[in-house]
Symmetry: C2
Subunit: 423 residues, 2 copies
């Protein structure tokens, strides 16, 4: 082989891609990290941007800046449209191509509407900063519309909020939205009482936070109800339109339905031509490489993999561990050594519910309520990338905590100019 | 007359409108404050949002929240499309109408291209948060495009930045942009040296910051040049396209031209059917009411008024003073007393240039450099509305100051998805 350094291309600057790039800092490779966006996003706090508690830049940092001191990495802002595995080449959206020696695909997941793509228009999801800003705008505009509406039925529809999906994102959104209606907006309107807003969390399965033990699910449900959220379980939503949603036998007029129910892998996986699971994720080998393509790895939410007989969950710690494992596997390949199977180390499960309410499950430890909330807060602030962000986020939270206020209640766009669709 | 409280309608929640609403807190009136946006904007720091130093919510606060404790005010998010002065009625964008007894128009100003509206597309201006976020995106994307560009001439065009207009906004933008190129982005790119970016400030008149004494203009120019800005005076830009701009005899290839040269009054003034000045502002009477319509007042950037024989400048302190004066004039009308003429109290003139560089002119006091910068910083943080914003802004600045970093370097939208126009 030539003395040329092997070219490792990483597609996606999320937890898997970024942690892999960092773990290859001292490896004899040159790395190109490609992302469609210029920033790494701390996705676990995205719901805080959507609910106006944090500014978008508080939970994001430019990939270039994070990697500026790592000389073997080049960051490229581009859209990868297809993988040509036989030619070891990527096709980019700007009509360029890029050759690789090793490839890591870590482009994550997007929303899935279980065959009802027409719901996407009426029930937006929450995966990117742009999603969060759109949702923030919609939530804030809903209260403005209710204030200006004189017809009681139409007004009620603007004050009717439904969140579909009882996983961590759905629970966080529902709890925070109830807090906004009951506390943050109190006394600010003259024609409506924002506290009369109905916030309903809808889970088709038997309980919310299904990845937690049953007793913690029950405690989460009670905490949600205490915050003012109606929790509906066991009945699926069967229709969503701009007028409302169908739940079992009843149609509920509502202008805001948020989708937090399903995810599907990023479509880039399809161009590999290898078997995918039902959610469109790549079924990888034990070392996270793609069957038949030992030079291609898949990590993060795009990978379907088992560890100790159980599927690895789509959470940030798993993605970081996969990123580091893939870096080690590439080093092993370069040294002509066999790579080891990936093993997921489960450090526990946290979910926040709202003001002073959360659930924590770490091995035998189960917490709920205030103590769990402090635990959740400390863990999330600690893991936020970047010193500045951590301080600003803490300050914003301290302020929000004492004042019940939310600092980012800004509607972008003007009333007559970029009116949001009537959904 | 009936016992019904007179209805004061204020259009525009900027400095004039908001200060008028507050000054009427104890008056026997009911007030409706209408704005197209849900927030009051601290416009003097808008350039910091455009240059990624601050997040948009740092310099804005919801009007509803600011006025929540003032029981005689109702805030309405709507677009006013016309004033029917004879019927004392406003027409709103949502097909509704609203009657008033007293009206304050304070809708401010927008960009003016001196008869070259076709330049708007290639040389965006900076008046709203949306403008600032678009400009931020464009500036950050320009460096990304340069990094990906292999042709030296095209690359140079992406690294060529021009700011048209040598007033405070132009000076602030030019100084900050030079700092970003030379310091913030240092070492983050692999194919370009951001420090090679050319930042040019173009003023058609003889000197920058023409509202300051000549010696301070000269000091500002020297400080700009020290920061790496090329200052061009005395020659106007005669053409702007997506390829560059024409300055005197030479065409300069540049992908970024920012417009900071002219303002024009908001078009709502035209529907009054009264004389306007050249910039489209309403020529008001001495008490800031509209000739022939004693129940209509105009304040802020929309008003053309003289004080002690000199035109009142379009700055925040003047707008606040006008707002308070109009509130007093309405109280006088209600009491059947004559209203007094408006007198502008000039507390001085400040402009910031960049890192540790500013000019200050207060009566006989003239400062420049570091001391002026601290003065400017203290004044602006003090006047920022809202306790939380002040703390967060200070923290962001302290961090930016020590690290040369800017916390809001986030490009919204994805590479393949919402590509900015090639301008």
């Amino acid at each position: 082989m030539s003395a040329r350094r092997p070219h490792v291309v990483i597609v996606g600057g999320g937890f898997a891609g970024l942690w892999a790039a960092r773990a290859l800092a001292s490896a004899p490779v040159r790395i190109t990290l490609i992302d469609r966006r210029n920033h790494h996003l701390f996705q676990p706090l995205l719901y805080q941007v959507a609910t106006a508690g944090l500014s978008a830049p508080d939970i994001a940092a430019p990939l270039r800046h994070i990697l500026r001191r790592q000389a073997n990495v080049e960051v490229r802002l581009a859209d990868v449209t297809a993988v040509d595995a036989s030619a070891r080449r990527l096709h980019l959206g700007d009509a360029n191509a890029m050759d690789y020696d090793y490839l890591l695909l870590a482009t994550g997941a997007t929303h899935a509407y279980f065959g009802h793509d027409e719901w996407a228009e009426h029930a937006p999801g929450l995966k990117t900063l742009d999603d969060a800003l759109r949702l923030r705008r919609h939530l804030l505009v809903a209260f403005e519309r209710a204030e200006a509406e004189s017809d009681p039925a139409r007004r009620a529809a603007w004050l009717n909020f439904a969140i579909v999906g009882g996983g961590p994102t759905g629970v966080e959104l529902a709890g925070t939205l109830a807090e906004i209606a009951r506390h943050t907006l109190k006394n600010e309107f003259r024609n409506i009482d924002p506290g009369e807003a109905r916030v309903r969390l809808i889970e088709a399965g038997p309980r919310v936070l299904a990845s937690f033990p049953e007793d913690l699910s029950e405690r989460a449900r009670r905490q949600l109800e205490k915050l003012g959220v109606e929790v509906s379980t066991g009945v699926p939503v069967t229709a969503i339109s701009d007028a409302g949603y169908q739940l079992g036998d009843s149609f509920v007029p509502a202008r805001t339905v948020v989708w937090a129910a399903g995810v599907a892998a990023s479509p880039l996986a399809r161009s590999l031509g290898v078997p995918l699971d039902r959610a469109g994720r790549v079924i990888v080998q034990a070392d996270l490489s793609v069957p038949g393509h030992p030079d291609i790895f898949v990590g993060g939410d795009l990978a379907s993999v088992q560890s100790e007989g159980r599927p690895v969950p789509g959470v940030a710690p798993a993605a970081k561990q996969m990123g580091r494992h893939i870096a080690a596997a590439i080093r092993a390949r370069l040294a002509g050594k066999p790579s080891s199977p990936f093993r997921y180390r489960d450090f526990g499960n946290l979910a926040t519910i709202g003001r002073m309410a959360a659930v924590v499950h770490l091995g035998r430890l189960k917490l709920s309520g205030l103590l769990a909330w402090w635990f959740w807060l400390a863990a999330h602030v600690f893991f936020l990338i970047g010193f500045r962000n951590r301080l600003v986020v803490l300050l914003n939270w301290a302020w929000a905590y004492w004042s019940y206020q939310r600092g980012a209640r800004i509607i972008f766009g003007a009333a007559g100019e970029e009116e949001p669709p009537d959904q």
